[in-house]
Each structure stands twice: as structure tokens, then as C-alpha cells.
Symmetry: C2
Subunit: 184 residues, 2 copies
DNA sequence: TCAGTGACGACAGATTCTGTCGTCACGATA
DNA sequence: TATCGTGACGACAGAATCTGTCGTCACTGA
């Protein structure tokens, strides 16, 4: 067997994404993924908690956002605090090609959509906690996180579709949209 | 065996909720649920697509909201349209006791949280489609749905916690909060 | 040279979910 | 009353996911 090839995790992720694109998520088994990566099924589960996790490796948005929130100037409102943190999003994400491939696979599978959602919500909870630590009340923090993520999604949609403006600009635009929607 | 007892679906739902509360979601098998409902495991899967679905039966919020959106006066903005529809929410939901029991079980299980989230998002997609049919553009509709659901969640949180105000009032309050958050 | 550590293969087994077929209750019709 | 169709159900087989456990092998440091 091909033990100790190195970059085990990466090999599994690559094999999984390829197979999902070829045969669909439901149509490919963990055994197939492992085999293509020169491993056994058991080893797959040593690197990923379950079959879905292989697509949600290490964006680590949290580690990117939280310090910025922590360092925000005193008295800054909740939503602006979040949007400031979100500005550095594209630097943390994987290359756009990869994101597009992955997005297509996820969109095609309810199981993967579920997983993506809970990742999002888990992030939202971390944001709420960070806002509360800065003195915002729970209710406001929760609402700000929900609304902030809606703005982030709106901006990200545009970015993925090829809009190469500075991400802070995309966020500002999305926030304008939000204002129109919320005030009307 | 106890065939033809009637209310098969309800028996399974009841057995599942009780067992999940006693042993946790992961700790109970579909076979146990079926057994407590005097059925076989195979019959469980005739009534529910998978183990999680047994907790997400038939709120049918969609059927409640869509007609109201359809019937909204011309020219009404997206968010107010949604909030009008949301006003009748409590009439569709199950009794509060049931919701609280269920919420506790869901909160304790990541798998169930995932399922709850995708139910929410699926609803959001239906709302977006309904808004687009009324002439709102896609981007606005998406944002309004995200924000509207944030407001709905905020109002529902208060309602579940025992605030017995008219639900329209709770929604209005949540919307005030939203305005504060969004404008500041 | 040798023990410690971590990655891996091999195997067993519980659980989820699906396909298929035969059986039984019920309702409609002759 | 006799018969037939339909739908709910039990019984069985089997694929796939996920976990526990143990032995092996490569690398590291003393």
C-alpha cells in the first residue's frame, strides 16, 4: 500500500471533490474516496468525522473575524463591527475555482446543504458571543449577527459571480440594499 | 401484532419524542421507536424519510404564509409583506408545551439542528420565490427573506419564552430592534 | 540500538436506510 | 355473500455509514 505519501488530508479532500462531481454525493461511497487516495475507509474516518466533513475543511472564518471584533473601537455599533470584520473574507477563502466547484456539489445535495448551514450558524453563534463580550445585549447581538450574515451572503454572492471590487465595497453595497429593505 | 391501531404517524412521533428525551437522539434507535409504537423498523421508514424527519412533521408554515403574500396590496414593500404573512404564525404551530419539549431535544443534537436549519432555508426559498412573483427583484427578495426570518426568529424567541402579546406586536417590536441595528 | 509515538491496515459489529415480497384488513362491487 | 383491488404492514436481505479494537510499520530521540 501507499503509506506515508504525505498530505493525507489533502488527498482525501481532492479525491472526494472529484468523485462527488463525477458521480454525485450519494453515488460515491467513502470506500471509493479512500481507495482513490490510496487509503482504507477506516483511515478516512481518522481525518474526517463523517462523509460530509470532507468538503468543509478549514476556511476558518472564525479565526479571521473574532480578533477584528475584539479590536473594534469602543462604542462602535454591532453591525458596523461585524462588517469591518467581514472585510477580510476573501483572503481566508480558498481559490475561487475551488469554491465554485464545491458550491455546485453542495447545491446538488441536501445532506451537504444541511452541513453548510450549520457551519454558518455555528459561526453566527461565535459572532454573537463576541459581540456580547463587547457589551452589546444578547437580543441586539443575535439580530446583528443574523442581519450581518445576510449582508455577508449577499456580498459573497456577488463576489463569487465574478465581481472583483474590493470586498469592503461589496459589503457596503449590500448594506445599502439592506437599508432600503429594512426601512421601507 | 397491533396492526391497524390507527394514527400510526402520530404514534411514531410521540414514541420518538419521548425516547429522545429519555435517551437522547443518538442513544435511541429507529427499531426502538418502532417497537414502542407497536410497529417494525421498516414501517417507520414508510412514514418518515429518515430518523430526523419524525420531529419535523407538519408545521406547514409555507401553506400559511404564501397565500397572504400572494394577496398583499400592490406596491407594498418586501419586508412588510413578509411580516404581514408572519403575523398568523402561532395559529399554525403546535401547542407551546410540545414546541418546548421538541426545542430542547433539537438543541441537544447537531444532527437535528441541521435538519431544522434546512427546513428554515427551504421556507426562505419559497418566500423569495413568492416575492419575486410579486415583482420584487431577486436580490431584494433574498435579502428581505433573510432579514424577515431574522425578525421572525427574534419574535418567536420571545413568544416561546412566554410573552403572550399578540404576535403582530411581537413582530413589530422585533422590527424596531432591526431598525436600530441596521441604521446605526 | 531501542523504546515511544503516530499513521495506517484489518477485522468485527452496530445502525441507518432501501428493495422486495408475501400477508392481512378494509372497502367497493357484483 | 363472494370476490377483487388497494393500502398498511411484517419479514427478510443487503448496501452504506460509522465506531471500536488491535497489530504493524515508519519515524524520532536518547
Amino acid at each position: 500500500m501507499a503509506r506515508w505519501e504525505g498530505n493525507t488530508r489533502g488527498r482525501l479532500e481532492r479525491a472526494a471533490l472529484d468523485l462527488f462531481r463525477e458521480q454525485g454525493y450519494d453515488g460515491t461511497t467513502v470506500a471509493q474516496i479512500a481507495q482513490r487516495a490510496n487509503l482504507t475507509e477506516r483511515s478516512f474516518y481518522r481525518w474526517f468525522a463523517d462523509k460530509r466533513e470532507v468538503l468543509f475543511g478549514d476556511d476558518d472564518l472564525e479565526a479571521c473575524y473574532l480578533p477584528v471584533i475584539q479590536a473594534a473601537p469602543d462604542g462602535l455599533a454591532a453591525l458596523p463591527t461585524l462588517l469591518t470584520a467581514f472585510a477580510s473574507t476573501p483572503q481566508v477563502l480558498r481559490p475561487r475555482d475551488f469554491l465554485i466547484e464545491r458550491a455546485a456539489v453542495i447545491a446538488a445535495s441536501p445532506a451537504l446543504r444541511e452541513r453548510e448551514l450549520i457551519k454558518m450558524v455555528t459561526l453566527a453563534e461565535k459572532l454573537v458571543a463576541a459581540l456580547v463580550r463587547r457589551g452589546h445585549d444578547e437580543q441586539t447581538a443575535q439580530l446583528a449577527a443574523d442581519v450581518g450574515l445576510a449582508v455577508l451572503r449577499s456580498a459573497t454572492r456577488r463576489w463569487i459571480l465574478g465581481d472583483d471590487s474590493d470586498f469592503a465595497v461589496l459589503l457596503a453595497t449590500a448594506r445599502q440594499d439592506l437599508l432600503r429593505v429594512a426601512v421601507m
